[in-house]
């Protein structure tokens, strides 16, 4: 018995001393404040010619990077005036004390030089100021005119390295540019970089165009326009300008969208007041009918794995969102809230479906999980619709129309973006009024 007690006492001290060794504290919360980042100006290598120097891109590239990162809402760019070190010194070996002094947590530096074959070489380095280490260092080679794109690529790399999520800056947005008076509105297809620069108009505006959608994998666009006074779905290659009618349907086709692998187009085809959902393989032109219901089924959108399709239908009496398998079976209603639901768009991440909701004369852009749970309304306004996901599934672009006054003034449509938090809402500046935006996939992913 005595022995037993001794043993207990011994064990007891053993365990005690062990538990003293390492106190554990669980850190399950942190802040989601924008990360303070210092983006130093880049610098020219000595071999650069004066023509390039005039373009001032050593300041412009960091500026684009800074704008991209700031607009994402996840980064806070520190004022360049507070920077102590010169760009060339910082790029080679930053004095981290100088940067942590101004409360920077990460630092971006860069160098621009010219290769022998006249290509531009843009080097950048990302530094962890707090841990005093280099996080990444990359160089991009490109034609000198392409420097803007390099800035977007750098932004993506930084975004991905710090958040763990793919960026979305090296992307483009296609939209409908609207000009002219309300009664005789001219609508043209336009494409621009995601930051609003480099606008190109793709159609002349003779025919009305609606609902352009980017292929997630390449430079194809599908949209609706009129052919012999009948709305039809078209396919357009924005590099070559080649345009093509999709399918030979004896009636109206609309609401087109690409499948996530970019190989099919899914759309609505209306006949005798009833519309159903069809797909067409772009290469083989084989058409398949997916729904067969006397109600209006429209706005189909594939899940990223291609196994399911979300669409809206009024088969319950009101317009609601449904999902089905990609062969048209297993139709399930997923939206059950008050109001009308439309334009479901499956997130590229697969977890969420974005939608437009009309409730008590207000329009909402919201998201729900793909089973219909967890509905979250991100923004409310007089009129807004057509959300489209950025390729990383974190930001949505949509368009919003403001109410026009009694004299018919105002009431223009503009593009807006909002992230999943619902707090970071931003206007995307366009030359003209703009509607029906669609976000491309990452250009570099091709």
């Amino acid at each position: 018995m005595k022995n037993y007690i001794y043993k207990i006492v011994f064990l007891f001290f053993l365990i005690t001393s062990k538990s003293f060794a390492l106190v554990t504290v669980d850190i399950t919360r942190g802040n989601l404040d924008p990360l303070p980042v210092a983006i130093s100006n880049f610098y020219f290598d000595i071999n650069i010619d004066s023509n390039l120097k005039k373009k001032n891109i050593e300041n412009k590239i960091p500026e684009i990077v800074q704008n991209n990162l700031t607009r994402s809402g996840l980064f806070f760019a520190l004022d360049k005036k507070s920077f102590i070190q010169k760009p060339e010194v910082a790029h080679n070996k930053p004095r981290f004390e100088d940067w942590s002094f101004i409360k920077a947590q990460v630092l971006v530096t860069g160098k621009i030089s010219l290769e022998k074959d006249e290509r531009l070489k843009v080097e950048f380095k990302l530094w962890d100021v707090v841990s005093a280490t280099e996080l990444s260092a990359l160089a991009f080679y490109t034609a000198p005119d392409n420097w803007r794109r390099v800035a977007h690529l750098i932004s993506d790399k930084i975004y991905e390295r710090l958040t763990g999520e793919k960026g979305y800056f090296d992307t483009r947005i296609i939209y409908v540019a609207e000009t002219g008076p309300k009664v005789n509105r001219k609508k043209r297809l336009a494409v621009m970089d995601q930051d609003g620069f480099g606008v190109k108009y793709l159609t002349l505006g003779n025919e009305i165009v609606l609902t352009p959608r980017f292929s997630p994998t390449n430079q194809l666009v599908t949209y609706m326009s009129y052919y012999k006074n009948l709305p039809r779905v078209y396919l357009l290659n924005i590099e070559t300008g080649l345009q093509d009618l999709v399918g030979d349907f004896p009636g109206m086709t609309f609401a087109p969208r690409f499948s996530s692998d970019g190989k099919k187009i899914i759309m609505s085809f209306a006949q005798e007041g009833n519309s159903d959902i069809y797909t067409m393989d772009i290469k083989t032109r084989v058409v398949e009918k997916l729904t067969d219901h006397p109600s209006i089924d429209t706005s189909p959108s594939y899940s990223p794995d291609g196994a399911q399709i979300a669409f809206n239908s009024d088969r319950s009496g009101f317009q609601q969102i449904y999902t089905m398998k990609s062969d048209g079976t297993n139709v399930k209603r997923i939206s059950f809230g008050d109001g009308l639901y439309g334009t479901p768009v499956w997130s590229p991440r697969g977890d969420l479906i974005a939608f437009t909701k009309l409730y008590r004369n207000k329009f909402y852009i919201g998201v729900m999980r793909s089973d219909g749970s967890g509905e979250r309304l991100l923004t409310e306004n007089y009129y807004q619709e057509a959300p489209s996901w950025a390729p990383n599934g974190r930001v949505l672009i949509f368009y919003r129309e403001t109410a026009s006054d009694t004299a018919g003034r105002g009431g223009g449509a503009k593009l807006w973006s909002i992230d999943l938090t619902g707090y970071n809402e931003r206007l995307i500046l366009t030359e003209t009024d703009a509607s029906d935006p669609s976000w491309s996939g990452l250009l570099s992913a091709k």
């Binding site: 390492l22 106190v23 707090v130």
Partner: protein, 268 residues
Amino acid sequence: MQKSLKISFIGHFVILFISSITLPFLMGKVQAPLVISVDLVQIGDRTNIPYAPKVLDGEKTDKKTKDRVVTNQAPPKIVPKEKPDAVPLPENIKQIKELLEKRQNPVKVENLDKQTSEFEKKEIFDPNKISALIDKSKKDNAEIEKKTSLEATQSQQKNVVVSKLTITQEDAIKAQIFKCWNIPIGLPYNENLTVKVRIKLNPDGSLISSEILDQSRMNAGGQTYYKILAESALRAVKLCNPLKVPPTEYEKWKEMQLNFDAKEMLRG
């Protein structure tokens, strides 16, 4: 009839006589309340640090050991920090036992407890004050929060006996790191990503070293998320340097393991 009355009378008298001798309260010698009140003052003086914590310290460091010990000797109860008066310290226990044996009067014990609690009211007050202050500090007053929670841990060490950090101490450290940790928002919330960081601290709370415990995973391919999380955790630890630490019991917190897990936050 007369006879039985007499027997009853004598019998009652005998009982009364015996009880008047044996029952203590009739003797007038023992003045229980007085003795106890005198004792109380002494106990109060003794219950101050540092003796008490040491004794209990060992006894309840680990749950397993605690259980075993409990089977063999008087229960060293866990002291919930909000009610430091609930459990008498070991010296008290002994004295209480003595008293109990002498007096067999539980009321007095209760009285004693009550007295103790009154004596310690100063300490009880602190946690309340702290929680109030922490509430206030939520409105962007970081400094006050840190300060008060530390004050709290300091004062509570007198009565709350722990082997790990107290909840307040732990909270104080958590609160600091929460502010320093900028969560990488792109991490998947459905994967199990926990980064364990071991930190070593100086007595003033400044950082000697910090290291990722699962270093191999850090350098393994395909662990991008883990790496990004780990880097952010290391940044958090360094940004929080020096940590505001409890002023005493350096042995306890000179080395800590911080488990960083952003799942809850990311799931929203």
